[in-house]
Symmetry: C2
């Protein structure tokens, strides 16, 4: 058990992580660092953190520091934290991109104390009130470049995530960013575009409201995700996201062409091919 | 209560409808009509239907005939049923497109006995084993062109759907097809295209399998839907679907252009606009 765990950011991921640590008896005291006093207070009121304090003080007190903030803020904040570290302290992040951060910290003298992680769980909501209990159960957690982290630090993070019910997956930060472009980032882009499509063209919003069923909701729910989280992700993972997005537009154009040319045999083939996603997802 | 209800097709919608009728005490005996003996037997084994018989015989015995088969088959099958009707019998369909069917039946001498309905519920699965209990609760059901149906027939269908927990929405068949292109058909197209994108580009399927989280699953699950159901829907609703699909591709190209030009201010605006879908869906 950790005596003091500091979470930097008191939102969806860090909040759910803090709740899980407490539920599993892995942390005695959780300290929160937030840009705003109101979020910190909300996190205290919700029982997510025990106390709030400024970054420098919170880092000094912590055995483990867990950073879960938008990925553009992560690099400077993490650099500040790494500069403050004393021997024995562990720091980990939960960011959706890994290459830019790992590259930025590669030559830091305290690099070994940092473990790059990405628990593959999230919802379209944000802020401390979005934190939920038992959030990570049954999901995968990626650990990147474990070979440049201290084995004890890696082991500590592995134990936490495993205790939280996660499966561990190991890969390089470059591979991570390429894979998440497919399994996460493109889903958010299609969802944002789908929401804008409907909002642009369907002027009778009441009809959407009345008719929208499970299919619409499941494809569009990610469009509720905030730009403050997602724009930096798309920016940091631009090359991979553009690669997937180009392919996706090309796949949509194939379907469009089938309809325009009344080529329903080929449309059937395209859908049969899509059906084979059953092999991959339950 | 209906003495004998005939369901034509023993699949996801008709099967769930039959289970709900029995659960609510709305039907004493349910007769199934299926193209294949194995599906009919499965429907009997699952307690979805009491007996199976050929279409003509099943129509002759029924007080209510409920047709839920792919929309290309619906028009000829419905015409056959309408020709067989005796006074007092009611027939309804559950198809995802309404205009082609309503147009085809417009001048049929028994048109008044037909009620055009579309319960807005479904899953990506098909066949009798896909039928589930309490399927329609809390969803909307569209009734089209009620003014050309017999008021008693409309009232009987309204009572059934209301008893099943559905909200009734009324509109013309043209409006229906335009709206469902937005709230249902485009979601399926993006999902098929997304599945093909990932299958085309991500050669390490194991990575998808290990990493795919809730976001990917929710945007891609509709891609498991069968072409036998969806190709005829896209074909019958081609003009509306193309209209929405063109807009969707244009929205994706806007996002692509933001990334290519590093225009993250405009990308933020696009995502903020998409966020306003929160007004419409919970």
């Amino acid at each position: 058990m950790f005596q003091n765990v500091t979470i930097v950011g008191v939102g969806l991921i860090s909040g759910s992580f803090a709740l899980a640590l407490k539920d599993k008896g892995l942390a005695k005291n959780v300290i929160g660092v937030s840009r705003t006093a109101s979020s910190a207070q909300k996190a205290i009121d919700l029982g997510i953190i025990d106390e709030a304090m400024p970054l420098e003080e919170a880092v000094a007190k912590a055995d483990l520091i867990y950073v879960a903030i938008p990925v553009d803020a992560t690099i400077p904040v993490m650099t500040t934290i790494m500069d403050l570290l004393k021997p024995g302290q562990i720091v980990a992040d939960a960011g959706s991109t890994k290459q830019a951060l790992c590259d930025a910290l590669r030559d830091h003298p305290n690099r070994k104390q940092f473990v790059a992680t990405h628990p593959m769980w999230g919802t379209e909501y944000s802020g401390p009130e979005a934190a939920v209990r038992n959030a990570f159960v049954g999901r995968s957690c990626v650990i990147c470049e474990k070979e440049v982290s201290d084995p004890d630090a890696v082991e500590a993070m592995e134990k936490i995530y495993t205790d939280l019910g996660m499966r561990l997956v190991y890969m390089g930060s470059h591979d991570h960013d390429r894979h998440v472009a497919y399994v996460s980032h493109i889903s958010h882009i299609t969802s944002f575009a789908l929401a804008n499509t409907v909002l642009e063209k369907e002027k009778e919003e009441n009809a959407i409201f009345e008719l929208a069923g499970g299919g619409f909701e499941s494809t569009v729910r990610l469009a509720k995700s905030t730009p403050s989280m997602w724009v930096p992700i798309f920016q940091q993972n631009k090359e991979n996201v553009l690669d997937v997005l180009n392919e996706h537009i090309s796949q949509l154009r194939k379907i469009k062409s089938c309809l325009e040319k009344d080529n329903y045999e080929y449309l059937t083939e395209l859908i049969e091919n899509a059906n084979s996603i059953r092999r991959i997802i339950k």
